[in-house]
Symmetry: none
Subunit: 409 residues, 2 copies
């Protein structure tokens, strides 16, 4: 049985959507890595009855709950009061906490406002958690089955205090951290991956999940604590083999072969100090932007279309309309002009209207000249203009990645 | 009595902290603007019993709940099944939804995987919500006192579908929508804006909020239903005046002068059909990428640094190290070479290491040649490499925006 955890965020600014609650995600990651099963996040505003009611709910169903917010000095900071109601304890002044708050203001040569005194009152029996960077100390206590930890909502203060919380949790709970392996892919959708994996029977306790990020699709395998390393390797290799060469990297294997698409390309280009020249059209500068600061990127040109690209490279524009052939000719020219190891040319078929309209498609033609040979890739892109632009940049880079990972290079 | 709303986010990736749940904040803002009181956000993972249990809880205490996630085709997408359990309805095939999903794949010239069929099954009696940009349709139905709306978790799809949801909510609930006016600014932080506005006393019932987005800071003024239009205008003008010319647009005034930075620049450039040539260094292609498809963008060159920029424009590199003067010389040259109305040159001071390190700074020099004169702007940039790159692109574009909005142009 793993310990069940919840995250509880307090504040009108969260529940009204004035701020995005990044604390909850950060705390969940920490608790997952420690071996907790995080089952729920909840956010409520600054109403005493709502707060006390929620604490009572959580006290009955979770083993651990990390709460953020509501520890400030003002009238809408009601956490300690709500905890007092839910736990049946009275609020008591913590002399050490008060001295810390007084010292905070002394160090800044400012008088302590009277309202800050309130921050030193905790429910009787609570454990104080010092705040090295702000005025609001945190506290922790058990209510029913649940160990509650209350921290301030300011992310930098909360994170600085979590180091001490982590030690407390490790000594209070018997935890066995799980192991996450992530297969990262480009050019294949979530449901197609699921179909690829249909024939694979995962061992008991292994959990499969997917995440469609902006730049990639991630297939996540969560292995329970103590899962044999050799079986894990086989399971991951089988899954990667079924998805095929859409997988550009695998995170979580500690073989140094993980990372995002650019990290994989960086490793490939550094093997022989390769250099690259690029002509981009459909991605309009976004490919260059993704590669900014890379020494292997010798030059980038941006053109509106195939005619503009030909003009920039001072060759006759292609009249036959064969964009794959045109891309190859331009890539040859670019390679000679820039004296590089690789030249990547991206062209596309489609009007500006096709490009902008989310229901219309453009066809992307990529050609990578590697000296000895030319590698081609063709894709049909749909979605809004930003989606097409990003996909164009990624798929052009992915042709470079595939070529670099090809053992025949 | 205002209607009580909740937000419910489904997904292991949310509850395990792999992604920050920005949907909840966005939806809360929408519901608040419509006149709902949002009382709670909850996120749970992909466990059927947890999902069904939570739906039953919410059904008893809220009037409206917007749920995101769990509508995909894979085995961990369990929302419809959980709703069936909580509502006591069976799942039925929606023929129209199925045709939409089939059409989605036909448009992309891909066979529809069999598992996607599952996405067309809704609880009997549910109202279908079409998804114009993805495969997952949404649906809505009443359970006990609560009107539940289920939408996909992909933010772009969810937001596109919310337009139809908004109309449904306005017809189902008696709401008194508040009026939101948003001051959009670049180049000034949230706390500096707060200081600017310190002297301003807002009328009763007007709520002030801030949102730091990736590309801008938004100052939000929420006016209660029925707030007099003339007082609203005065209040907005006072706030905008105090923040100053960092404000590039104001949304919500129905004068057609809102929109993002590019929309404002588009309007300015179209007045006299202006054309622009750009040399970017610090943003490495991202400025071009943000302007992709714009007819007014005549040419873009990308260089690693001032020396590379000079070489590309075939002028002697500047040896004195005065980057503002160098940018002006290069802008003159670029304007003549490309025969455009404006030439924008971006240079920066700082090593690659300064650029990459989040605690180090680079200094950005922008010069915009407008024929008659040259306008300069200088900024100190900090943060990680992506932050610096994006800020560089935005601040260069913002110099163009300020020049276009200058009545003396």
């Amino acid at each position: 049985m793993t310990a069940i955890a919840e995250i509880f965020s307090q504040g009108e600014e969260v529940v009204c959507g004035q701020i995005v609650d990044s604390n909850a995600a950060w705390l969940s990651q920490q608790l997952n890595e420690l071996g907790f099963t995080v089952k729920r996040h909840t956010a409520v505003g600054d109403r005493l009855a709502d707060l006390a009611g929620l604490i009572e709910e959580i006290a009955g169903r979770a083993d651990c709950c990390i709460c953020t917010g509501g520890l400030g000095p003002t009238s809408d900071d009601l956490t300690a009061e709500a905890v007092a109601i839910a736990s049946g304890e009275t609020l008591k002044l913590d002399e050490v906490a008060l001295r810390h708050i007084e010292a905070y203001f002394e160090n800044r040569l400012r008088p302590m406002p009277a309202i800050n005194r309130k921050q030193a009152y905790f429910p009787a029996g609570a454990l104080r958690i010092d705040n090295p960077t702000g005025t609001a100390p945190g506290f922790a206590l058990r209510i029913q089955r649940c160990w509650f930890v209350f921290l301030p909502g300011v992310p930098s203060e909360m994170k600085a205090m979590f180091a001490a919380v982590r030690e407390q949790l490790l000594s209070r709970f018997t935890l066995r951290p799980a192991r996450l392996v992530t297969l990262r892919s480009i050019g294949i959708g979530e449901s197609a991956i699921q179909q690829c994996l249909e024939s694979l029977v995962f061992p008991d306790g292994v959990r499969l999940g997917f995440r469609a990020a902006v730049d990639e699709v991630q297939t996540k395998l969560l292995f329970p604590a103590g899962f044999p390393q050799s079986e894990l390797q086989i399971c991951v290799q089988q899954a990667a083999g079924l998805i095929g060469d859409y997988v550009f990297a695998i995170d979580g294997l500690e073989d140094g072969q993980g990372g995002d698409l650019l990290a994989v390309i960086d490793r490939g280009m550094s093997v022989k100090n390769y250099s690259l020249a690029v002509m981009e059209t459909a991605s309009g500068g976004l490919l260059a932007a993704k590669c900014r600061g890379r020494d292997w990127l010798a030059s980038v040109s941006i053109a509106k279309d195939a005619v503009g690209a030909a003009r920039q490279l001072a060759v006759e524009p292609d009249s036959a309309g064969d964009l794959a052939a045109a891309a190859e000719r331009l890539a040859c020219r670019l390679m000679r002009l820039q004296n590089v190891d690789f030249a990547l040319v991206q062209l596309f078929q489609g009007s500006q209207d096709d490009y902008r309209h989310k229901d219309k498609r453009i066809v992307l033609y990529n050609c990578l000249q590697t000296g000895g040979s030319a590698v081609h890739a063709q894709h049909s892109l749909s979605g809004g203009a930003h989606t097409k632009q990003n996909q164009a940049a990624l798929l052009s880079l992915d042709l470079l990645r595939r070529t670099l990972q090809n053992p025949c290079l």
